[in-house]
Amino acid sequence: MLSKIREILSAAAIHYGWVMEPDAKNILQLAGIDVPVSCWAKTPEEALAFAAKQGYPLAMKVVSPQILHKSDVGGVIVGINTNESLLAGFEKMTRLQGFAGVLIEEMLQGIELIVGAKIDFQFGPVVMLGIGGVSVEIYQDTVIRMAPVARNDVESMVAHLKARTLLEGFRGAKPINLAALTNLMIIFSQLVTDLSDDIESIDLNPVLCNEERCVAADARIILPSSRT
């Protein structure tokens, strides 16, 4: 598994310095992390074929080696419900810089968390859990632990989030599947420990958590500058 992951990372390193979303998700899936059902469509026909198989609603994200923060440039469309809007969205994406297709994914509902990792100079691989989405840097509600983490570390991370009540089922909402989150954190922290020489940081943002699943809906892997 690790050698396959390193192959993907090496290929990405040669080209960009970070790993594009379809490859990053491929790596996560290889490691055993839940990711959305998806298709990297390079033509409108491929997009339509996936939609026919998967059904609506769908999310569409641009794939481009030149776009690191997709939503900042209009590279993310959610809630696509018809073939027409799928094709219109595709057309719009083709005009973005470095267009290399789109990633079309099943739409998931849940609380948006961020799960991250970085290779820290002083402490080596560390993982982060926090309230995610586009406002992460505003709320800054995150907890960090040294990787790899065990079950009790994940429990303590959740307990130290200011917004932990959201995860426990706030105002009638169902609590998230904590076992799935714990499992994700444990696998992820082991993955970044194994890859501590190969990567610089990883963002899984958002990780969508509901009462059933915790799914890495977006992933960004930054490679060390020495590799690029």
Binding site: G116, D120, Q122, F123, V126, M146, D203, I222
Partner: protein, 464 residues
């Protein structure tokens, strides 16, 4: 080539309890030279044999100056090296040949001045021979009634009493300041080490040494930064250590971090990473000097207690309210006592305060309370399963209490495993009350916030 230091095979003990000391670099003409200050103070005040060394020989204070360390005919445990940086490698080699057991390199002019190469040379020479040295660019070691390598004249230093707290500091200046404040707060010291550039002996090795040192029960650090992956080694060593480890970290706001491209890298700044990981591993982080002093005092009395639910005893409602605010601000709880416990407490109080005292927690005995009331309330909270730590706010000006009260309630606490922490205003007039706590190893603070910090230390001690 890279030589990996074999720190674990080094014996640090002779550094801190040397029987003989060579001071390399004494001046024959300048008695204020740092080496002379070190030579003089150890000669006059410490139970070590001291040998001055200078290649030119001669005499100093009527004693023979040796031209080289290998000219000393007795064994030398510790060499203090105060010569120009470029001469240090050669002196380290001489020390190794002479079978000196360790060194303190006071001299600057190494990595901090752009001479990483010279520093690497020292590390290589010393680690090949398992020869431990502290520094360079440091003040070195102060071990009470053993040795003092600080180049500060004795009469300018304020030495704390002998006690159980060891301090390791990356900064010499901060360390000397802390000694002054330890003395002021009555915190006893087991060992103080300024490690400067920490080229060979780093925080991790000192932590491992102090973990086994029978004279030390609390280990405090002032840290500016760790080298690559050294933070990881340090927290692993701290987890293995049974004693409380306190760290005050400087450089919380790091400017000039390189531009970051991921959310994680931006959210997980150096300080946030360190602070969260310290909490994970039960390392007590002191965010400033007041916290450090409070934590040292509290944890040296209660190295293995934890505190989350606090019971408060006061003679004034205002003090109680201030203490509750401070506790809640730190995430501590001040639980209400059950009705039955409140009733039984109230029934035991003096008839004069029975109708006016508050018993829910804080227990406000009012200004009319007498000594027995404080003792009864203390016993009630020590016995209550609702609280795991007792904070007593003692107002010495209340007419009903005497200077004996502090010793009396301290002794009540000593019969239980529950920590007792006290507040008494610190002025000379109340000295006996303060010492009644201090002599009985009950931490006592001159401020309510300080007393709550002493409680907070016990909470931070438990890893999360």
């Amino acid at each position: 080539m890279t030589v990996f230091p074999k720190e674990d095979s080094m014996n640090l003990q002779p550094l801190f309890a040397p029987k003989s000391l060579a001071v390399c670099g004494v001046s024959l003409t300048n008695d204020n030279h740092p080496a002379n200050v070190i030579y003089n103070k150890n000669l006059l005040r410490f139970p070590v044999n001291v040998y001055p060394v200078n290649p030119r020989g001669g005499t100093i204070r009527g004693e023979k100056v040796y031209t080289a360390i290998d000219q000393i005919d007795s064994d030398v445990d510790l060499a203090v090296i105060v010569v120009r940086a470029e001469h240090v490698p050669e002196i380290i080699k001489q020390c190794i040949r002479k079978k000196v057991r360790g060194a303190v390199v006071i001299s600057g002019g190494f990595a901090e001045a752009g001479r990483q190469d010279l520093q690497a040379q020292l590390v290589e020479i010393a680690s090949r021979a398992d020869f431990p040295f502290i520094g360079p660019n440091c003040l070195g070691i102060y071990a009470p009634s053993q040795v003092d390598t600080f180049f500060l004249p004795s009469e300018r230093m304020v030495y704390p009493g002998k006690g159980k707290v060891a301090i390791i500091s990356q900064s010499g200046g901060i360390l000397v300041d802390l000694l002054v404040k330890f003395a002021g707060e009555g915190i006893g010291l087991s060992l103080a080490v300024s490690i400067g550039n920490k080229a060979l002996v780093k925080e991790e090795q000192l932590l491992q040494f102090l973990a086994k040192d029978p004279t030390t029960s609390v280990i405090a650090f002032y840290i500016e930064g760790f080298g690559k992956n050294e933070g990881r080694k340090f927290v692993h060593a701290a987890r293995k250590c049974k004693k409380p480890v306190i760290v005050m970290k400087a450089g919380k706001t790091t400017g000039g971090q390189r531009a970051v491209s991921s959310h994680t890298a931006s959210l997980a700044g150096d300080y946030k990473v360190l602070s969260d990981i310290f909490a994970q591993y039960g390392i007590v982080e002191a965010r400033n000097e007041q916290e450090l002093l409070s934590f040292c005092e509290s944890l040296s009395s209660y190295p293995n207690s934890s505190a989350k639910k606090i019971g408060i005893i006061t003679g004034s409602g205002g003090h109680g309210a201030m203490a509750v605010d401070a506790c809640l601000g730190h995430g501590l709880e001040v639980p209400l006592l059950p009705d039955a416990e409140q009733k039984s407490l109230r029934d035991s109080l003096s008839p004069s305060i029975r109708p006016i005292a508050a018993t829910d927690n804080p227990i406000d005995l009012t200004g009319s309370a007498v000594e027995d009331d404080f003792a009864i309330a203390t016993s009630a909270l020590l016995d209550s399963s609702e609280v795991d730590c007792v904070l007593v706010l003692l107002l010495p000006y209340l007419p009903g209490i005497s200077s004996d009260l502090s010793a009396r309630i301290s002794q009540l606490a000593q019969k239980t495993k529950k920590p007792l922490i006290a507040y008494v205003p610190h002025v000379e007039r109340y000295r006996m009350l303060i010492e009644g706590f201090e002599f009985n190893k009950v931490p006592v603070s001159p401020s309510i916030e300080g007393a709550v910090l002493m409680v907070e230390a016990l909470r931070r001690r438990s890893s999360c």
